[in-house]
């Protein structure tokens, strides 16, 4: 009888310890990948964790390729990506019996801007590429009044630079004498002060101080980016392995929901809602 009581006490204690452990162990979600998506993921994780103390979201960059590789290796739960997965990555996933599922969380639109005094109001994507690679160095070469083009670009570490390189330059190098700037605001500021300047900024950073250009005849704006008609735009993704469940689902729902989309707007991207 005494032995039975001792056994009961031990089992009771073990149950309490297990329950306490279960309560204290927060569910952990690892998010990794694109530096372009990083600010959205970081800010969303902060706000999400404030409201969900039992879920710990760890966010890190590394690039889209790194994030996708980690998702396929099982070392992260969500891969941020500023591009769609490549066929080879899907094939690798299939070989590893993984089931990547895409969630579009935002759209990225880049606006090419010039000084307000510039008579140009439209360029083709090819003309923008020529200007940034140095093939065209005078406004007269692209239909404007004669005058040297001052090329302003984001520095190579920025996601906007990466997106612009991918969507417009198609891998070509920016001319070496371009003025490389650390922020969208710095670009807008230089273009606003320099009559012959051309730059590019995220759609969310467009102000009246600079003149946005139509590209291939399409006006940059929320509607044209969301419809996919504006040529310098792209979707931003979060990939999960299979349909998300538990904390991963809660976080994805948060990012694609009203609060998350407000963060998308605040970070200078185009919200889906």
């Amino acid at each position: 009888m005494k032995k039975l009581r001792v056994l009961q006490a031990i089992m009771f204690a073990a149950a309490i310890v297990a329950a306490a452990g279960a309560v204290s162990a927060a569910e952990k979600v690892v998010v990794e990948g694109s530096t372009t998506v990083l600010p959205i993921a970081q800010k969303a994780a902060e706000v999400f964790m404030d409201n969900n103390g039992d879920i710990d979201i760890s966010v890190r960059g590394g690039g889209s390729g790194v994030g996708i590789a980690s998702l396929l290796d099982g070392s992260c739960d969500i891969a941020d990506s500023s591009r769609a997965m490549k066929d080879a990555e899907y094939e690798k996933a299939a070989a590893k019996k993984k089931d990547p599922k895409a969630h579009v969380v935002a759209m990225d639109g880049i606006v090419v801007v010039v000084n307000n005094s510039n008579g140009i109001s439209e360029l083709s994507k090819k003309q923008v590429k020529d200007i940034y690679t140095g093939a065209a160095s005078d406004w007269s070469a692209v239909g404007g009044q004669a005058g040297k083009i001052v090329v302003v670009s984001r520095d190579s570490s920025s996601g906007t630079f990466e997106a612009f390189g991918e969507l417009v330059l198609k891998g070509a190098k920016v001319r070496p004498d371009a003025l490389m700037q650390a922020s969208n605001q710095a670009i807008a500021s230089i273009v606003a002060k320099t009559p012959g300047a051309i730059g590019y900024v995220g759609l969310g950073y467009l102000t009246d101080s600079v003149k946005p250009l139509k590209i291939d005849g399409v006006v940059p704006g929320r509607d044209t980016v969301l419809s996919g008609k504006y040529p310098v735009s792209r979707p931003l993704f979060m990939y999960t392995n299979g349909s998300p469940k538990g904390a991963v689902k809660e976080f994805i729902d948060f990012v694609t929901g009203p609060e998350g989309q407000k963060i998308v707007d605040e970070e200078g991207f185009v919200a889906l809602k």
Binding site: A102, M107, G134, S137, S227, K273
Partner: protein, 442 residues
């Protein structure tokens, strides 16, 4: 509501995944109609379209992986087709100049796959004949006769993972008949159609992003005879460097070291151009009157190319010329003391490589190859019919018509180094070749 629409579209997408393009267009129209009716927002529509496309891509990939072995999935195919007009004009030793105009075609198709990560197998087929290792052309004519396809190359390649031992070191072991890995800025020594036979061990060492070293080491079999005890063979060791000196200046250099065994005193090799020194008299060891090589061809061949990116873009002066390079090559056969040198000098201007519409390149080189500087089974067959004891000019212009399609114009103005001893003709027997090509790569 949106999720229901998404589920609906995904279901339809799942059914239609195998008729990808046309089907994608139909989904676009359906989603656009839902946007027009105010059922979906443009953002929801974009989300549905992109995610549907991703699902379709994934399902295609899954089908591919499930049904086909990995080595089949990993097969990479490449090839090219060339249509050529060629005009040859050559002065004959016993007659006036002969002329010939020909239309020729060349087709090459290659494939490679990896059986495991470190082991690759490759093979290629091409137009050509088994009696000319220096040409894959087939001349049009002969009452529409069918043209020959031959095995161009077939090899196995082992690339062991050395990252555990020394991160920047790479090694490739190749065996069989393979595309020539010996680097040369101009095809003075090696016709580009030649596929060496034997084994190679190619080492690479990447010091940093701007500096790397390579060393190509080969053992090649030149001939094999059932009754021949000393089959002719050759060894090559080619150490070299790739150095990006600045963002705009790059340098490549190498020194080839060639060692031959069994060539001297051996009967003239198959498909010789007939200009190396041979002797018909039997020497002390041979009781034969067969023509045999009088010399060996152990040689050293340094070569360099220095390239300038945006060469004329300074002080605001921009001609739009993206690339300019100068190159040179020299060879000395140290088994002979005369008629033992060869050299080439040249330049390229335009785009570094012509692979896209509007790209162009103009190149020029002058070559000088003495009689026994090099074995006459190897040099460019368009340059004085691949002979040694020849010198002359070569001009090439290439222009990109579309992506992977280009026009190529080439002119050779060549002659023998020695004059005719015939009293009626003391010329150097000049020969000219004009080639106009349309080339498509795929």
């Amino acid at each position: 509501m949106v999720k229901r629409v998404l589920a609906c579209v995904m279901l339809v997408a799942g059914i239609g995944v195998f008729c990808a393009d046309g089907f994608a267009g139909e989904v676009d129209i359906l989603v656009q109609k839902l946007v027009d009716k105010g059922i979906l927002t443009p953002g929801d529509a974009q989300q549905i379209l992109v995610e549907t496309k991703e699902e379709a891509k994934k399902e295609l990939a899954q089908g591919k992986v499930t049904n086909v072995p990995k080595w089949v999935q990993d097969i990479k195919l490449k090839g090219d087709f060339r249509l050529r007009y060629q005009h040859d004009r050559a002065k004959q030793a016993t007659a006036t100049a002969s002329q010939r105009d020909r239309a020729r075609i060349r087709l090459r198709i290659g494939a490679e796959t990896r059986l495991i990560d470190e082991f690759k197998v490759g093979f290629g087929i091409a137009t050509g004949t088994t009696s000319d290792p220096r040409s894959t052309n087939m001349t049009l004519g002969d009452s529409f006769a069918f043209k020959n396809i031959v095995l161009d190359y077939a090899y196995g390649q082992y690339d062991p993972d050395l990252s555990h031992y020394m991160q920047p070191l790479s090694l490739s072991l190749i065996g069989g008949k393979f595309p020539n890995p010996i680097w040369e800025p101009v095809d003075m020594l090696w016709d580009t159609d030649i596929r060496p036979e034997g084994v190679m061990a190619n080492l690479g060492y990447k010091a940093d992003n701007n500096l790397s070293f390579f060393m190509n080491n080969g053992f090649f079999i030149l001939d094999e005879g059932s009754s021949d005890k000393g089959d002719p063979i050759m060894f090559v060791v080619q150490p070299g460097v790739n150095w990006k000196i600045t963002d705009n200046i790059e340098f490549k250099g190498a020194v080839d070291n060639y060692f031959f065994n069994g060539v001297k005193d051996h009967a003239a090799l198959d498909y010789t151009a007939g200009t190396n020194t041979v002797a018909r008299l039997p020497d002390m060891n041979r009781q034969t009157s067969t023509a045999v090589y009088w010399y060996n061809y152990n040689s050293v061949a340094p070569k360099v190319e220095i390239g300038f990116i945006d060469p004329f873009k300074f002080a605001g002066f921009d001609t739009g010329v993206p690339y300019l390079s100068f190159f040179g090559e020299y060879i000395n056969n140290w088994d002979r003391s005369s008629q033992d040198n060869g050299w080439a000098l040249g330049s390229r201007i335009g785009h570094k490589k012509v692979g896209d519409k509007g790209q162009w390149q103009l190149a020029y080189n002058y070559r000088f190859l003495e009689r026994d500087a090099w074995l006459d089974i190897f040099p460019d067959s368009d340059f004085y019919s691949g002979r040694t004891n020849a010198k002359g000019n070569n001009v090439i212009f290439q222009y990109g018509v579309t992506k992977n399609s280009m026009l190529n114009f080439e002119y050779y103005d060549t002659m023998s180094m020695t004059r005719q001893t015939n009293s009626a003709d003391s010329s150097r027997l000049p020969a000219q070749v004009i080639q106009a090509d349309w080339i498509v790569k795929f």
